[in-house]
């Protein structure tokens, strides 16, 4: 009784199915026909799928021609492999940081991000977009940082990240000019009377999980031939602090800059903690971008060099405008200003010619950024001085 008109539309849609089914008398053949039709659909969907991926790789090749890397860089979360173009289109740099590292990046009550790493995100934004505030800060846990980079959730990672060979390789990250040369140290309670690593043999050392820190401690004690301490690694710093206060561990190991910042925040006052005078690892903290887009890597690199070069020239946020008519041609080239004959040097990095000016005018030079965020924690310049002062900061020339 339902046969006929009411089902006309359905019947029309299923004409192929019905047509083939009606031809055969046997039920089994009908089943086979149905199965066959569904398989055809699957095959059709399958080939659609491969067509789509062909299309996208074609896009990548055409969009990526500037750096000659072919189809290698198409993982920037939907943009077509050219991160610089993607950033310029979006008008914002997505920068991976951590909201709870005093001195490096802290989320303030008013929603602003304050710190050394946060300022280097601004440096990149000022260089690429001419606007230091065009940064989207992405808060990343230690374990999530490389995944965020690989998935294209962020454009650049400036998050206290040590440059190591295996991260360069396995994590598919390209590390750039380190913005902070750090080293791992050890902190103990002042009243424990421990003065060196010997005093920690067979003790308990707490470290933050998800870093190279755990391995470094174990390797250092092995190198010194001391009894290995028990190394207890915690997921977050607040938990270590609580555990340390309750006497769970004798030592607290992290990068020296970190220890200084944690010590400054310690509930019992900074004097309750002593940072031992040992540094047992090299920890160059460097910004990282994803492998496969060397143009973007260069851009980030030169933005960081700009802060170093500015300090070398003595250019600060306050006096940068005085340098706009400098007699020194290399300063004029650095700031992207026209020389005596009205010609502007464009190094062809894909950046505005005055990117260094924007960096210094909006954020400041390396020394200013350091003094604003790290000096108050009691961290000394140490290795992070200009090469001319005996440090490691050395910028290639801007010409």
């Amino acid at each position: 009784m339902f046969d006929g008109q009411r089902w006309a539309a359905v019947r029309a849609a299923a004409c192929l199915l019905k047509g083939s089914a009606m031809k055969y008398k046997s039920n089994h053949v009908r089943w086979l026909a149905l199965l066959g039709a569904l398989l055809l659909m699957l095959a059709a969907c399958g080939s659609d799928d491969s067509d789509a991926s062909d299309d996208s790789s074609a896009d990548v090749t055409s969009g990526d021609s500037t750096d000659g890397e072919g189809a290698s860089g198409d993982s920037n979360g939907g943009s077509d492999g050219n991160v610089l173009a993607g950033v310029q289109d979006a008008g914002v740099v997505r920068c991976g940081t951590r909201d709870a590292l005093p001195g490096f990046s802290v989320l303030e009550d008013d929603g602003s991000h304050v710190g050394f790493d946060a300022d280097f995100c601004r440096v990149i934004a000022a260089a690429v977009l001419g606007d230091a505030e065009a940064v989207e800060f992405v808060d990343l846990e230690t374990e999530a940082r490389f995944t965020a980079l690989q998935s294209g959730e962020i454009d650049v990672l400036v998050r206290n990240t040590t440059w190591t060979a295996s991260r360069d390789g396995v994590e598919a990250a390209t590390f750039l000019q380190p913005n902070f040369y750090d080293g791992q140290g050890m902190m103990v309670a002042t009243d424990s009377g421990i003065e060196d690593l010997d005093g920690l043999a067979g003790a308990v050392v707490c470290v933050a999980a998800g870093t190279t820190t755990e391995g470094n401690v174990a390797n250092e004690f092995a190198r010194l031939g001391l009894d290995a301490p028990e190394i207890q690694s915690f997921e977050d710093t607040d938990l270590i602090q609580e555990a340390f206060q309750q006497g769970r561990c004798d030592g607290w190991s992290s990068d020296v800059s970190q220890l200084a910042s944690l010590r400054s925040d310690y509930p019992d006052g900074p004097d309750a903690l002593t940072i031992l005078d040992v540094v047992f690892s090299k920890e160059p903290l460097a910004p990282a971008v994803l492998d496969g887009d060397s143009e973007w890597a260069q851009v980030v690199n030169w933005a960081i060099f700009a802060t170093i070069q500015a300090e070398e020239f003595g250019i600060t946020k306050a006096n940068v405008d005085d340098f706009l008519d400098s007699d020194d041609p290399s300063v004029m080239i650095f700031l992207g200003q026209a020389g005596e004959d009205g010609a502007v040097v464009d190094p062809g990095l894909g950046l505005p010619v005055d990117f260094a000016y924007q960096v210094v005018a909006q954020v400041g030079n390396y020394g200013e950024i350091f003094d604003a965020h790290l000096a108050p924690l009691g961290i000394e310049r140490g290795l992070n001085q200009l090469w001319s002062d005996g440090g490691l900061l050395y910028s290639p020339p801007y010409r």
């Binding site: 699957l42 490389f146 690989q150 207890q232």
Partner: protein
């Protein structure tokens, strides 16, 4: 059969059943293929390794509470993680079953205070997120134990401090194989004695007392073995040595926190299962037991509980699975179980997605093993229907 009498295919029940299932299957397959190919394409494009070679790479991190060396491969680290997961899970399952059964029975008590106290316990713990319980047990209990220099000894042989909680344990000197051999011999002897007692019981009607006889046999064989092998098993008491608690069996505050939270939380669920199962035993069974002049304890032990157990086993199995999987919350307090070890490995340059695949399959194997064991138990307890 005339083709005209059959309904058209879109109304034919048999066709519709098939078509629907095939469609679902195909959609699922397409979704899985899409996700997999997406992952492969993106990983290759960004040159992230996708294989499992990393398992043989040196781990380069230590594991607290084990003698794992940083130069050992990642797969050994995962092995330590699985061992720690099993340790917490097995201890948790045993303790939660004991506490849960007692609380479940207590909830049915006619004593007002006992039943209300059990009710409060169940309702508070059952309605609290486990993660909060774990963190609470760590911050508010485990870390508040006295510092190691002032370690408490609540009972002789027990040590409690923030560096670890020590209980008396045994120690095997030399190889464990002879000891294992003696234990096996004791077990076989006990089984033989049981058969002998049952045989006597059938012949003469004298009570078999199999449990006593078996226990006695095991103890006797074990004592003889211990003397014959030159006392390989000795007791070991925990003590504070410098900055650590050593000897005995020492539980780290992290494991203590995880185990306490897992046990109390799961016990609250098990209590409800036990209560429900007891109430599901027909009332007439208890009344019949009373008529036969069994005491309250005897009624519970011989009549009600054996029948309740049959009902309880399948949902209990579920709780055991949950407990095992929930042990991954050890991450929150840095207990080095499987999930925590894998996270540490990922942070030390093991690729994230292949590592997660490995960890997922390990949890799958653990869960399937527990399922098999409980299914076996269920089959044994099942009412034999004729």
């Amino acid at each position: 059969m005339n083709a005209a009498q059959r309904p058209p295919p879109w109304r034919d029940v048999r066709v519709r059943k098939w078509a629907f299932q095939m469609t679902v299957l195909i959609v699922v397959l397409i979704a899985v293929l899409y996700v997999w190919s997406n992952y492969q394409t993106n990983s290759q494009a960004s040159r992230v390794p996708t294989g499992f070679d990393f398992l043989d790479q040196p781990a380069n991190f230590p594991i607290a509470g084990s003698d794992f060396r940083t130069t050992q491969p990642v797969k050994d680290a995962l092995g330590v993680g699985v061992a720690n997961t099993l340790r917490a899970s097995i201890a948790g399952i045993v303790l939660a079953t004991l506490i849960g059964t007692l609380v479940g029975i207590a909830r049915l008590s006619k004593n007002w205070l006992v039943s209300k106290a059990a009710g409060v316990y169940v309702e508070t713990l059952r309605n609290t997120p486990l993660l909060i319980l774990v963190i609470f047990a760590y911050l508010a209990v485990a870390l508040r134990l006295p510092p190691v220099s002032e370690a408490a000894t609540p009972l002789p042989g027990f040590v409690a401090s923030v560096r670890g909680i020590g209980v008396p344990w045994y120690r095997i000197d030399g190889s464990g194989w002879p000891v294992a051999g003696v234990l096996l011999a004791a077990l076989l002897a006990a089984i033989a004695v049981r058969r002998w007692r049952l045989h006597i019981n059938e012949r003469s009607g004298a009570r078999a007392h199999t449990a006593w006889w078996m226990a006695g046999t095991i103890v006797a064989v074990a004592v003889v073995g211990q003397l014959a092998l030159g006392t390989p098993i000795s007791g070991s008491l925990p003590r504070v040595d410098g900055r650590m608690v050593i000897g005995g069996a020492v539980m780290s505050p992290e494991m203590f926190a995880l185990l306490t939270a897992l046990t109390l939380y799961t016990a609250s669920h098990i209590a409800e299962i036990v209560r429900g199962s007891i109430q599901a035993v027909p009332k007439g069974q208890g009344e019949a037991a009373s008529v036969l002049a069994l005491s309250n304890g005897q009624r519970m032990w011989y009549v009600i509980l054996p029948q309740a157990m049959r009902i309880a086993v399948p949902p209990l199995a579920n709780q055991y699975l949950n407990l095992t999987k929930n042990s991954s919350l050890g991450v929150a307090v840095s207990y080095m179980e499987l999930t925590k070890v894998s996270r540490t490995a990922i942070a030390n340059a093991s690729p994230a997605i292949p590592m997660l695949v490995v960890v997922l399959s390990m949890y799958l194997v653990l869960s399937i093993a527990i399922s098999l064991l409980t299914n076996l138990l269920n089959r044994r307890l099942k009412v034999v229907e004729r």
